[in-house]
């Protein structure tokens, strides 16, 4: 795919609807130039996040340029960090969890990525929301 060189974006929310909706916003506002995946909810369909789902999303959005993860609250962050720990060592350094609001951060990170920016710039741009 032509977009595979850009930094991938993963959206992790406690709510599958929020994660899917945020991904919709990214697709409609930024386009298809970035690898994108989302995960949300626990395996039973309730609210929550799980490490397996996050690992799957990282795999789906994987890019040689790396992956930026946007999370909402508490468990989304700790489970994402756990998922990163479980990645093969050569991939671990190319995945970051951004300190940014999940919806806005996802759109901005994807915008930055769509211009071909490296992972550090994608993270910096998303984190500008709290700067």
């Amino acid at each position: 795919m032509s977009n595979s060189g850009n930094v991938g974006i993963v959206i992790v929310s406690h709510s599958a609807k929020i994660a899917e909706g945020a991904a919709d916003m990214v697709r409609q506002m930024v386009g298809n130039a970035v690898p994108l995946a989302w995960t949300g909810g626990d395996p039973e369909g309730g609210l929550g996040t799980n490490v397996a789902g996050i690992l799957e999303a990282i795999e789906l959005a994987w890019s040689p340029a790396g992956v930026a993860i946007l999370v909402d609250l508490g468990g989304a962050e700790t489970n994402s960090e756990m998922a990163v720990e479980m990645l093969p060592e050569e991939r671990r350094a190319r995945v970051v969890v951004c300190n940014a609001p999940v919806v806005e951060g996802a759109v901005i990170a994807a915008t930055e990525s769509s211009g071909g920016s490296p992972l550090s710039a994608v993270q910096r741009s998303a984190e500008e929301f709290y700067a």
Binding site: M29, V30, V107, I108, T111, S114, G115, G116, S125, F129
Partner: protein
């Protein structure tokens, strides 16, 4: 690496300026901001925008900063550009504003 090139370019190339009135109904909200920064990133030139000819200037390649400008419909957007592809960049920015970011 891009930043280094941009600052070097700004020493060599003069600033080009132009302005255009925002015609799309919601002004420079989220979606147009994304389009503008995506377009700006396609050029090597340093591209800045402002609501007044004397600034303050905002980096047109930063989606967060562009959204913070909160330029409403009817506002005049001023552009300041410098770089080897500055003329093309300026033309592309003006074209985007003139056609309301494709949503007017």
């Amino acid at each position: 690496m891009h930043d280094v090139n941009a600052s070097r370019a700004s020493k060599t190339y003069p600033h080009l300026t132009a302005s255009a009135v925002l015609v799309n109904p919601v002004g420079l909200h989220a979606r147009p901001s994304v389009k503008l920064t995506q377009c700006a990133k396609g050029f090597a030139a340093r591209i800045e925008l402002a609501l007044a000819p004397e600034g303050p200037w905002t980096d047109a390649k930063s989606p967060v900063k562009v959204m913070r400008v909160k330029a409403p419909q009817g506002a005049t957007l001023h552009f300041r550009v410098s770089g080897s592809d500055g003329e093309a960049a300026l033309a592309a920015m003006l074209a985007l504003v003139h056609d309301g970011f494709g949503e007017a």
